[in-house]
Structure formats: structure tokens, C-alpha cells
């Protein structure tokens, strides 16, 4: 392409460096719109991203942002939420970020039900590192690191999250930005850990799963009267893939969050607001160490 691509400008006055047509653009705008629609003040919103094409998103959003390291969106976000539950905390990961290097944090975030929203830009490929296989790549898929075809079965993040007991599990599609915004809003309103896996076409490294490919297969759970409170139905739906692919809210249940249960944070102001100057150890010396006064 001898003609340099025109790169759009983000509201943060930074050039957006995604490929033209990349599915990340709609995630960016749907999320900003969702926040605005809900009337959340930008300074109350914190976005955290990992490394990948996906990870660049925090540079483009008019919210507090932390661009952390590969795979660590969840624990970094958890640290923030824990000390300041008044913040709205959303993470953005790639499929490599969330399901390869960072997968260990997912089951535990789910068990804790910490009130963090995790949005996964699932493009079935490692984008930024130039097109390697990912845990969501289809079996047989030809990528830079599977020239003979991928021999591993793709992970099913929706089934995994539901089966592990996640309190909010949804799938979005970059080609349906209105629906995506709806899902983000629902997630932002939900109290508890939320996984939103977004089918995000990578126009550069995945020539199979194009917008078109998805459009031919996708339908909205909301259009078929799916009941997101029905665990078994949700689990069943999560295995649907191929000729018809459901997007939408699979499952939602209100359970106490980690912050609500942890003795230290369950009551009182956010930790960050509590004074430290008055901390004393004398009581501990007396009680735990039998301070001896001669």
C-alpha cells in the first residue's frame, strides 16, 4: 500500500493506529457512548488495558487510563476497585491477553465476583505481534505460527465463564455497534464481575472471520427470548457455534461482590479515603506481643 493510510484522531488527541476497518473501532465508540448514555462522569471511570492492538484503546478514551502489561488487566483492575469502589472499573483485553497469558486470573476473578468489567477484543489471533495463533483460533486455522493448520481446539470463553459461575456473561460483535453499546451498558449497570467477549474481526490477519462471515451467522439472544437468568439454558447456548452464533447476554445473576464481602471493605468509606495518620500499633503491641513495661 504505497499510499499512507489516513489515521483518525481520538478524542484524546492521539492518532488511532488501528488498521482501517479494524473491529476495535466500534468497541471504542460503543464503550464511550455507553458511559455517556449512563451519565457516568469521565473522572469516575477507569479503563485498564493489556498489551495488544486491543490494549491501545486506553490511549484513545477520555477516561482515567492504565495501560498495563500483557495479561494483567484483571489483577491491576482489582487493586483499583478494592481501594476505591466508587470508581467504575473496566478492563480491555485481547484474546491472547485474556485467554492465553492472562487466563489464570479469570477463574479467580469469577470466584471473587469483584466488580470489574472485562471486555475481550476477541479477534481469534494475536494482532499486534503480527498474526500468530490464539486460544480462540479455530482448529485447522492457518496462522503465522500454524502454517500446517492449528491442532488445538479453541477455548470457549462463554462456556468457561458460565460454568465457573460468573455473574454476568455476554458476547458482542463489532459489526453490531448498537447491540454492543447495549451490552456495555448492561455490564456497567451490573454489580459484579462481568465478561463481555466481543467478536472483533481482524481485517489484516484473519481473512476467514470477516464482518460478512459473522453477519451470515449471528443472531441476538435478545431476539429469541433467551432468559439470562436460566443457568442451564445459558450453558447450552454457550455451545452454539458454527452456522448460527448467538450474541447477547447469556447469563446474569446478582451475587454479593468481593468488596461487599471482605470485612475491611464491606463497610466504611473507600480505603483510599481513610486516614492513615491515626494508625497506631500500641494496641497490637499490648494485645499481641505482651508489651512489657518495667
Amino acid at each position: 500500500m504505497v499510499v499512507p493510510v489516513k489515521q483518525p484522531m481520538a478524542v484524546t488527541k492521539r492518532t488511532i493506529t488501528w488498521c482501517p476497518g479494524c473491529g476495535n473501532f466500534s468497541i471504542l465508540s460503543a464503550f464511550i457512548d455507553a458511559v455517556n448514555d449512563l451519565g457516568l462522569e469521565p473522572w469516575r471511570v477507569v479503563v485498564i488495558s493489556g498489551i495488544g492492538c486491543s490494549g491501545k484503546i486506553t490511549n484513545y478514551m477520555p477516561f482515567n487510563g492504565a495501560h498495563v502489561i500483557h495479561g494483567r488487566v484483571i489483577p491491576f483492575a482489582m487493586g483499583i476497585k478494592l481501594v476505591n469502589p466508587e470508581l467504575v472499573v473496566a478492563g480491555f483485553s485481547g484474546d491472547g491477553d485474556a485467554y492465553a497469558i492472562g487466563i489464570e486470573h479469570l477463574p479467580h476473578a469469577i470466584r471473587r465476583n469483584i466488580d470489574v468489567k472485562l471486555i475481550v477484543h476477541n479477534n481469534k489471533v494475536f494482532g499486534l505481534t503480527t498474526g500468530q495463533v490464539s486460544p480462540t483460533s479455530d482448529k485447522g486455522m492457518i496462522t503465522r505460527t500454524t502454517p500446517w493448520g492449528n491442532v488445538e481446539e479453541p477455548i470457549n470463553p462463554i462456556a468457561m465463564a458460565i460454568s465457573l459461575g460468573a455473574s454476568f456473561v455476554a458476547r458482542g460483535f463489532s459489526g453490531d455497534i448498537g447491540h454492543l453499546k447495549y451490552l456495555f451498558k448492561e455490564a456497567l449497570k451490573h454489580k459484579g464481575f462481568s465478561l463481555i467477549d466481543v467478536l472483533q474481526p481482524c481485517v489484516t490477519y484473519d481473512r476467514v472471520h470477516t464482518y460478512q462471515w459473522y453477519r451470515e451467522r449471528i443472531y441476538r439472544l435478545e431476539d429469541v427470548g433467551h432468559d439470562p437468568t436460566n443457568f442451564n439454558e445459558a450453558l447450552k447456548k454457550s455451545y452454539e457455534w458454527g452456522d448460527s452464533i448467538p450474541i447477547g447476554l447469556f447469563y446474569r445473576v446478582r451475587k454479593p461482590t468481593f468488596e461487599e464481602m471482605l470485612p475491611t471493605t464491606s463497610e466504611g468509606p473507600p480505603l483510599v479515603m481513610r486516614p492513615i495518620s491515626n494508625r497506631t500499633i500500641r494496641d497490637l503491641l499490648v494485645k499481641n506481643h505482651e508489651l512489657t513495661l518495667d
Partner: protein, 595 residues
């Protein structure tokens, strides 16, 4: 014969309560007014194997346990096998001959613990308290003190306290009525020395964290750091601390990084294997300028090594950990009191300069006991570059234009956490501009890279001017025949050894506690006039890591190194012996034929 210093050893299998027995005795002795050092050794086994607890008690300050025990409680046969070199002619053994058979020709007090338990209808589990009562009677601890110690040990568990107190009394009374036809090791009357507590290094660090105002402690258990987690979790609610056990060390480090960015003091603790997993996050904290604090409690490596033993093998790993160059603080406290103070100092430094910090302790300090003066409440908490929300709001009202990575004179930028009305803040693990957006523009990238490194200069200066990165014990280095360099808890054995060595050679001991940035100026100052002294580093490792560091940072060549790699801490007298032997060889060589 009454002595200035007495040393006890309680040996038994894991689960026998030997460590609890030792701890109770140590507590009672401290209560009476003696100075105490306690050390323990246990295998990575829950029941069985052999554990030992040593108590050294004195009427004056003592520093380290030594290898001569005056009184030994032998609850298992291994006590004789493992510690055979730690007995002397007058060592008295307290044991139940129905449990263990003592070797011939040793002084034994046979306490029929099993029989006594049976008679009283007590369970085997309180046998250790019978022993503790017997020891108390033998060395002269009034029963009252034992009761107090038992109360402290089993805090709040009424029935447990009751039964153990009874058991101690039984042991005490039994011993009081047997006739013993040889001298028992008894201490001179104590000279009480003001408010004091018995602490492990881990407890001191935990207390330091409470005092420093830590709000999040996230950790994955790992010996010998886990007791910090156990301690903090117990007091977490009272002290506004979120204390979490999480899925692994990566999560622990990331959680505290997130918490630090969100505006609070946050820390974690681990040992070498877990620290390895935190190294990537440490580098991130370097880039993001987050003041996270990691306690690295060292045990012998490589890898799983000896999980419950002690070592100082990770100094250079800690200093150079993390990819890319960035400032960090590495500090190694030498005892429990120092550990408390250093935690507080390190948080102040970390937040003032926005750098991560590592507190290096070894298992010996982490889990060993020591009687120290009551820890001071009056310390300074200085949050440095961290701007609290209310203050930030005020600043913004005044028209302050905030950039999270602004280049200032000292290269430290203010840190306003997210959540301030009207303000958007950013942090970034990639190279970034002053606002925290990614950049790869060459001059900008260089500028920001150097901004972070320039802080080292100010940091080092502050450490050298305001703290005591280096301390000299014994004679001045310029007047010494022998200068010993050391760090961490090894200092304690070195100081006691110095007393012995000083009889032959005038000795100076230099301890370095702020190891990074290395206190170059203070070092040069201290070593200015050293000319002909033998120089020697004593470290609990093989390669002499401090010695390497000194040479790297100052060019000064510490000529010799005495190490130890069996996982057991140095003991003063054998250390002194090794040092004296070495100095003799050296001198012999010096005065010998000039080959």
C-alpha cells in the same frame, strides 16, 4: 553458679510443640527482664521430622544464638543426633526416659511426662507445657511468668490456657521436688530495661506496615514470608487493611500496583520463587513510577532449595531484577527493631521518589525471635509525591495543570490518583510522554527514560544524608586490623563473633543496610583510611554477593569472603573460629616467603 548468659535448646519432632515450648520460655524470660534471642529450625514437614528452638537469654544485650547449650529439652532422639556438637560438659538434659534414651554420661533430669499426663488425664498435646514448667523450675523462672507466657501464647482460648497452665505447674512442681546433684544453669537476676516486646522479624515488618499505613497487602503464601500474611489478616479489619491471599504472585504484585496507582500504600511478601514471578511487575512499577513495596524473605535456593531454612543468596538478583534500567530501593534490616523502622523509611522513600522498593530479609530474621525495645509510635509518615484527593481538588481549583509524568527538577512528578472530580489521569507501561500517552519519538523517549534514572541521584543523596545506610561497629575501620563487611541478620552473629575476635585482632564491622542505590559516598568516607587491614565479607551465601556489589560500586576490593550454604545461620563462636583461622593463614602468607 549464676551466669550472665544462658542458652536453652528445645528439640522435638514437628507437631510436638517444641517451638511453642521454646517461645513460651523465651517470653517468660523476657518478661522477667532478660534480653532474648530465639532461633528455630524446622523441616518442610507438618508432623514428624525434627524441630529445634534455641533461646539465648542474658542480663545484658546479646545478639545471636550460639552453639553451646546449657540446658536441653529432648523430646525426640534426633535432638541428640542433630545437635551433638552443641553440647558441653555441663549441659543438662531434661527428658522423659520413656520417650527417649539419653546417651551415656550426660547430666539428665528425667521428667516422667507421659506418666504425669496419664495420671492427670491430660492429652499428649500438652506434654510440651509440662516440659516448659520443668525448665522454668530448673533455670529459675517463677511459675507466674510461665502462666503469663502461656496466656500470651494461646490468647483468648480459655480452656487451652487452663490446661497448659496446669501442665506447666505439674512440670514445675515435679522438678522442684527431685533432687539434682549437679549445678543447674541459672541466670543472674535480670536488670529490667524498659518497655520491650518479643518479636519475630515478620511481626516487626507487619507492625511496620500497619504503622506506615499500608492499605492493601496481597500475597500468595510462601515460607518464610507467609507469617506476615497470617499476622496482617488477623488485624486487617481493625486497621483498615485489605489483606488478601490471591491466586499467585503475579496477581499479588499487580494488585498492589493497581492499589498504589489508585492512591494507597500497598505491599506484598514472598520468597525467591514467588519474587521471580513478580519481577515483570516490578519493571512495570519502575516504568509507571509506582511505589510498591515487596518483602523478599530469603531461603536457600536455587529453586525450591530448602524451603524452611535461611540464606542470603538473592542480593544481586533483587538489585538487578526487572528488564530495562529503573531506580529501586533495596534495603536489608538487621534485626526486628530495624525491620520495623525500615518498613516505614522505605515507604516514605518510595512515595517521595515514586520508585518500587524491596525489603530483603532472611528466614533467620523473618522467623527468629528477639526482645526489642517497644516499637516507637512517633514516626513520620510522609506520602511524598502522592497528592490526596482533597488536596488535588484544591490544586486544580487554583488552576494547576497536572501531568502525571511531568519532568521536574528532581525528576519526581506528583501522583494524583484517579477519582478526582474533573481530572483524568493516566499511566502507561510503554514509554510515554509527560501526560502518560505512548511515545516512541527518540528525544522524548530518551528524556523520559533519563527522567526516571535521574531520580537515583536525589534518592541516594537522601538516603546518605537522612538515613543510616551503613553502620560501623567495633573500632574505626582506620584503626582496625580486620574489617568485616556484612548485611542483613548476619550482622548479629558477626557482632558477637567480633567480641571473640577482638581479643586477637582489633576488628571493625561494617554493615550495609541500604544496599541500592549503593551508598557510595558513605562507603568511601568510612573506608577512607583503611590501608593494611584484612578485609573480609561474611555473608550467608557462597559467592560473596555484597563483596561483588562493593567492588562494582566503589572499586574497593574486599579481599576475603566467608560464606555458608547449609541453610543454617552463622553461630558466633564457630564464625569467630573460622575468621581467626583465616586471618592466621593470611598473615602467615604475608609474612611467609615471597612466592
Amino acid at each position: 553458679m549464676e551466669k550472665d548468659v544462658v542458652q536453652l535448646l528445645v528439640g522435638g519432632s514437628a507437631g510436638s510443640g517444641s517451638i511453642v515450648c521454646g517461645t513460651m520460655l523465651a517470653r517468660a524470660l523476657m518478661e522477667m527482664g532478660y534480653y532474648i534471642v530465639g532461633d528455630n529450625e524446622y523441616p518442610s514437614i507438618i508432623r514428624g521430622g525434627h524441630t529445634a528452638y534455641w533461646i539465648r537469654a542474658g542480663v545484658r544485650r546479646i545478639n545471636e544464638v550460639d552453639s553451646f547449650n546449657d540446658l536441653v529439652v529432648a523430646m525426640d532422639h534426633e535432638t541428640f543426633v542433630r545437635h551433638s556438637l552443641e553440647f558441653h560438659n555441663n549441659t543438662v538434659f531434661i527428658l522423659d526416659s520413656r520417650i527417649v534414651k539419653p546417651p551415656d554420661n550426660v547430666k539428665v533430669i528425667d521428667v516422667p511426662v507421659l506418666k504425669l499426663l496419664r495420671e492427670e488425664g491430660m492429652e499428649l498435646i500438652v506434654g510440651n507445657s509440662i516440659f516448659s514448667g520443668a525448665v522454668a523450675a530448673a533455670i529459675g523462672i517463677p511459675l507466674d511468668y510461665m502462666h503469663k507466657a502461656i496466656e500470651a501464647q494461646f490468647r483468648g482460648r480459655k480452656s487451652v490456657i487452663e490446661v497448659n497452665s496446669r501442665a506447666a505447674a505439674i512440670g514445675y512442681e515435679y522438678l522442684a521436688q527431685v533432687s539434682i546433684d549437679y549445678d543447674l544453669p541459672r541466670l543472674k537476676p535480670p536488670r529490667p530495661w524498659g518497655p520491650r516486646v518479643l518479636l519475630t522479624g515478620n511481626e516487626a515488618i507487619a507492625l511496620g506496615m500497619v504503622k506506615a499505613g499500608v492499605k492493601v497487602y496481597a500475597s500468595y503464601p510462601m515460607t518464610p514470608a507467609s507469617p506476615i500474611l497470617h499476622y496482617l489478616v488477623g488485624i486487617s479489619k481493625d486497621k483498615d487493611m485489605a489483606v488478601l491471599q490471591v491466586e499467585n504472585e503475579i496477581a499479588a504484585a499487580q494488585i498492589i500496583a493497581g492499589a498504589a496507582w489508585a492512591g494507597v500504600r500497598a505491599a506484598t511478601g514472598t520468597s525467591g520463587g514467588g519474587f521471580s514471578l513478580m519481577v515483570e511487575t516490578l519493571s512495570m512499577a519502575g516504568m509507571m513510577e509506582l511505589p510498591i513495596v515487596i518483602v523478599l524473605a530469603m531461603r536457600p535456593g536455587p529453586s525450591t532449595g530448602m524451603a524452611t531454612m535461611s540464606a542470603q543468596q538473592d542480593l544481586l538478583f533483587a538489585i538487578f531484577s526487572g528488564h530495562g534500567e529503573f531506580p529501586k530501593v533495596v534495603v536489608a534490616p538487621t534485626d526486628q527493631y530495624d525491620a520495623y523502622m525500615k518498613v516505614i523509611e522505605v515507604f516514605n522513600l518510595a512515595e517521595k521518589y515514586r520508585v518500587p522498593a524491596i525489603i530483603l530479609e532472611d528466614k533467620h530474621l523473618a522467623e527468629g525471635h528477639r526482645s526489642v525495645p517497644a516499637l516507637p509510635e512517633e514516626i513520620v509518615v510522609d506520602r511524598g509525591a502522592v497528592v490526596p484527593h482533597e488536596e488535588a481538588v484544591k490544586l486544580l481549583k487554583e488552576g494547576f495543570e497536572y501531568k502525571p509524568y511531568q519532568i521536574t527538577k528532581t525528576c519526581v512528578s506528583l501522583h494524583i490518583p484517579p477519582g478526582v472530580p474533573g481530572l483524568i489521569v493516566r499511566t502507561e507501561s510503554s514509554e510515554h510522554d509527560e501526560e502518560g500517552f505512548v511515545t516512541i519519538v527518540p528525544h522524548k523517549a530518551s528524556e523520559m527514560y533519563l527522567k526516571r534514572l535521574r531520580k537515583i541521584k536525589y534518592l541516594r543523596r537522601e538516603i546518605e544524608e537522612k538515613y543510616r545506610p551503613l553502620e560501623v561497629h567495633g573500632v574505626k575501620p582506620s584503626e582496625a586490623d580486620l574489617v568485616i563487611f556484612t548485611w542483613g541478620s548476619t550482622l548479629q552473629a558477626v557482632i558477637d563473633a567480633m567480641e571473640i575476635i577482638s581479643k586477637e585482632l582489633s576488628t571493625s564491622v561494617i554493615n550495609i543496610s541500604y544496599l541500592w542505590p549503593f551508598p557510595r559516598h558513605k562507603f568511601r568516607e568510612a573506608l577512607m583510611e583503611v590501608r593494611n587491614a584484612i578485609t573480609l565479607s561474611v555473608e550467608h551465601n557462597a559467592l560473596g554477593l555484597l563483596r561483588k556489589l562493593i567492588r562494582m560500586e566503589t572499586g574497593f576490593k574486599v579481599t576475603y569472603h566467608l560464606g555458608k550454604v547449609d541453610g543454617r545461620p552463622f553461630r558466633p563462636s564457630s564464625l569467630a573460629e573460622r575468621v581467626i583461622k583465616l586471618t592466621k593463614v593470611v598473615k602467615g602468607a604475608k609474612h611467609g616467603s615471597p612466592r
